[in-house]
């Protein structure tokens, strides 16, 4: 790994190359594409949260002039229940297919049951109205208690709980159980001076990306499909659409648009297979755009979760045992983030006796999708609230209590591996030293603190570095740019090649113009695709040096690369001037273009830890909570572009604060969401928030050439508990059920 002091471009803050187009409206997003003869596709969605589909009659729709195609579940190929979704989401391909278009049962209000394509939106709407669906309405199960009741209506009559000590003997809504742990928790609690046990709840929330799902698909007479869409993973859209539509992967090309947020929610497919099926039938391109209401009702929210945490400690603060029993809503199909919840809940602490138990529970809500650090915010809201309760019970400073028990290099993580270098203690020390932690608070104000953790991943990425004839460079990669990754890639390429950042242009290629690259998610892009860019740059430098060696008639090892030029090795007896890329490209053009490539499966993604400090003021008359100050501290390994690392910390903080204070799906008794729009589903807006202060800690990850750790997901983990702990500090009332919205806070204060 290169020493930080040697960097020329890494750590600088150049303007992002896609910025101008995005603020002027020139950038093309998912809904911005059109083709000649294009049709408009719409989806008919179930009006019931749980219903058997007895029949679907599309004939009325097809009789309308201008309607070119209509499909229902019967038009989609049956998918075997064997394949597991790759990429980011849990669950099977069969469930993914059924989620795109219901077969047999509608499992949530808004579940797709049919779709049409017409030459105008008005005709498409008329066509939807002409479709006849015969439902047998069933009782919905809308929360964990209802789903796990002995006599609960079954969402999937064949679902047998996996992971029980004894095999399940009858179906239930509990898809699976997972257990983990080490040591002897009973003994650990027995030997403790103090034992606390409480239950915490986080509601269903949405990722809340600004841009709704949208795509345009066209299938030609030869069966070749092209899809333009907004997605975090064009290669995943390709493989999932192929599986759902019964096509080969090679017959589908996916061209990703710019993307207006995803946060994990755009790692799967909803519209794309439907648009392909409609286009196949119509013989024309089909464009589909979700409304905001459809996004709320039919795309993956994050799991609601209920977690019971038990903790035992000595009077000096040494934690002797911790246990967690966690239930996650999966939505209508198995695949909630239970494993990540079990593994992250106590990840921050080095405790000998641990027990984690998690349940994946079906409810009549949309199938959950990934949302930044899936499973961890729910789990660590519970555990970090409990740590705060313990600190208060023991009268120990919450940072000191955490430092006393914090995981460190060489300790064993609760889920098995031995920690390498991690930045948890450095983050805690930085929080303790931060001026915001020492500011005086007034009456009605409170301060809370919490730790966040996420694993981060690497996996498959590809990149190419093309040297143009004038010496400028084009970098080709396959990760849609969500958080400024074009800039990060250009910085790393500039650092390797020794040429100015401005001379490098990064292009996001489609699935036929970039090597396979896994989704933009998992906090992996700067780490894994960055690694591919570095390798591709080194490859092209090697080629350039080899060509220069031939020109100079010396061995290749006698040529070095310095500051963007091939130079003679010191001491080499040759009278040659350094040669730039432009000169090398011009002089060696007959040898072909200079093109470096890399394709890798990145290993060693370093885990990320964070510490958040939140100051709030609570209005005891209205229950409104105002965030006064928020300090987000996180280990980034090394910040390639510090502004975009800070942006991740700030964005995650705001989303976590929204989850803590206001966001929740509200359902009526029939399982119909009552707040499917941003007027009623209250995400924080700029005027709600103070400036989020940030501190970047850099404990380099040795597995990356520049020490990068992923930073995209960890920032959303700590804000929930940090905010709740601040409210408890301000009011002396502990609220364990989120959101801490004004009526809920008022009720808690009144009950005290």
């Amino acid at each position: 790994m290169t020493d930080a002091a040697e960097f020329k471009y890494v750590g600088t803050r150049p303007v992002r190359p896609d910025g101008v187009d995005k603020v002027t409206g020139r950038a093309a997003f998912g809904a911005d594409f059109t083709l000649p003869g294009m049709l408009h596709g719409l989806v008919l969605r179930s009006p019931h949260a749980h219903a058997r589909i007895k029949s679907v009659d599309l004939s009325g729709a097809l009789e309308i002039e201008g309607v070119f195609a209509a499909v229902s579940g019967a038009d989609f190929p049956e998918v075997e229940d064997t394949g597991e979704m790759g990429g980011e989401g849990g669950g099977s391909i069969k469930d993914l297919s059924d989620n795109c278009m219901a077969r047999g049962k509608a499992l949530y209000h808004g579940h797709a049951v049919a779709a049409v394509a017409a030459n105008s939106l008005a005709k498409a709407r008329a066509a939807l109205a002409a479709i006849k669906v015969d439902y047998e309405v069933l009782a919905p199960v809308m929360d964990l208690d209802a789903a796990m009741a002995e006599d609960a209506p079954l969402i999937n009559e064949e679902l047998m709980t996996q992971g029980l000590a004894e095999p399940a003997t009858k179906p239930s809504n509990i898809a699976s159980r997972m257990v983990m742990g080490r040591g002897d928790v009973a003994k650990g609690f027995e030997g403790a001076d103090i034992v606390l046990e409480e239950t915490y709840y986080t509601p269903t929330v949405h990722q809340g990306y600004i841009e709704p799902h949208a795509c345009l698909a066209t299938v030609n007479e030869g069966g070749q499909a092209t899809i333009w869409c907004c997605t975090q993973g064009p290669f995943e859209v390709r493989s999932y659409s192929a599986a759902v539509c019964g096509m080969s992967i090679g017959s589908i090309r996916v061209i990703p648009s710019e993307i207006g947020g995803g946060f994990g929610g755009k790692t799967t497919v909803y519209l794309e297979p439907v648009a392909i099926m409609l286009s196949q039938k119509a013989g024309r391109p089909v464009k589909m755009i979700m409304s905001r209401e459809e996004v709320f009702r039919a795309t993956g929210p994050a799991s609601a979760a209920r977690s019971t945490i038990k903790i035992g400690a000595m009077r000096d603060g040494t934690i002797t045992a911790m246990s967690a029993r966690m239930h996650y809503e999966a939505g209508a199909y198995p695949g909630g983030p239970v494993p990540m919840g079990c593994m992250s809940v106590f990840a921050a602490y080095n405790v000998p006796n641990l027990a984690m138990e998690g349940f994946d529970v079906l409810v009549n809500k949309p199938k959950v999708a990934a949302y930044r650090a899936p499973g961890a915010p729910q789990a660590m809201f519970a555990s970090e609230s409990m740590i705060d309760e313990l600190a208060k019970a023991l009268d120990i400073d919450p940072i000191d209590l955490r430092l006393k028990n914090a995981a460190n290099e060489g300790d064993s993580a609760p889920y098995g591996p031995t920690w390498d270098a991690i930045g948890l203690k450095a983050c805690l020390e930085a929080a303790k030293a931060h001026p915001n932690y020492r500011l005086a608070l007034n009456e009605g104000q409170g301060r809370g603190l919490a730790v966040g953790f996420w694993f981060n991943i690497g996996f498959q990425s590809s990149a190419e570095v093309h040297v143009n004839e004038d010496g400028t460079v084009t970098v080709i990669e396959g990760n849609p740019d969500i958080g400024g990754s074009r800039a990060s890639m250009a910085i790393m390429a500039a650092e390797e090649l020794g040429i100015p950042y401005e001379n490098i242009r990064v292009q996001i290629a489609d699935t036929e113009n970039a090597g396979y690259t896994m989704v933009t998610g998992g906090s992996r892009t700067t780490f894994a695709t960055g690694m591919a860019v570095v390798e591709a740059a080194r490859d092209v430098i090697g080629q350039a040096k080899a060509r220069v060696a031939k020109l100079w008639q010396v061995d290749a090892e006698m040529v070095e690369w310095s500051d963007g030029h091939a130079v003679p090795k010191p001491g080499m007896n040759v009278d040659q001037k350094p040669m730039s890329f432009a000169e090398i490209a011009a002089k060696t053009a007959p040898s072909g273009p200079l093109l470096g490539k890399a394709s890798l499966n990145a290993r060693g993604a370093g885990p990320g830890f964070s510490v958040n400090v939140c100051d709030v003021e609570v209005d005891r008359r209205t229950g409104k909570v105002d965030v006064l100050r928020f300090t987000a501290i996180q280990d980034a390994g090394r910040a390639i572009h510090p502004s975009y690392v800070e942006g991740q910390l700030q964005g995650g903080a705001v989303q976590g604060i929204g989850w803590a204070l206001n966001e929740e799906y509200v359902y009526d008794a029939d399982g119909v969401q009552q707040n499917a729009g941003f007027l009623d589903y209250r995400v924080p807006v700029a005027s709600d928030m103070p400036m989020i202060d940030t501190v970047i800690i850099e404990v380099p990850n040795d597995a990356h050439p520049y020490g990068v750790r992923g930073v995209g997901e960890t920032p959303i983990v700590a804000p929930l508990a940090a905010t709740a702990n601040a409210v408890a500090n301000a009011t002396d009332v502990r609220i364990r059920d989120l959101p801490m919205s004004p009526p809920n806070v008022l009720a808690a204060l009144d009950a005290d």
């Binding site: 992971g163 494993p339 899936p374 889920y415 098995g416 498959q460 998610g521 499966n601 290993r603 997901e713």
Partner: protein
Amino acid sequence: MVRVVLPDFLQAHTGKGRDIEVNAGSYAELIASFEREAPGFEALVSKKATTVIDGEIVPDPMFDDLREDSEVCFLPKLSAG
């Protein structure tokens, strides 16, 4: 001996505990050893587990050599956003 940590579903499949020790010079040997004792182990790992070797998540472990003091942890498959 290589230290191996198994998650609950692999404990159930092998009938072994969470922390065990296995004599193997490579990841392939280690998998073969489990496969001999509990057929289906490799398929289960491939479908449901993430492999961590000596603290690093390793997406392509099949060609990795292991040291005498290596640590191989099978985690439930990670997903992320």
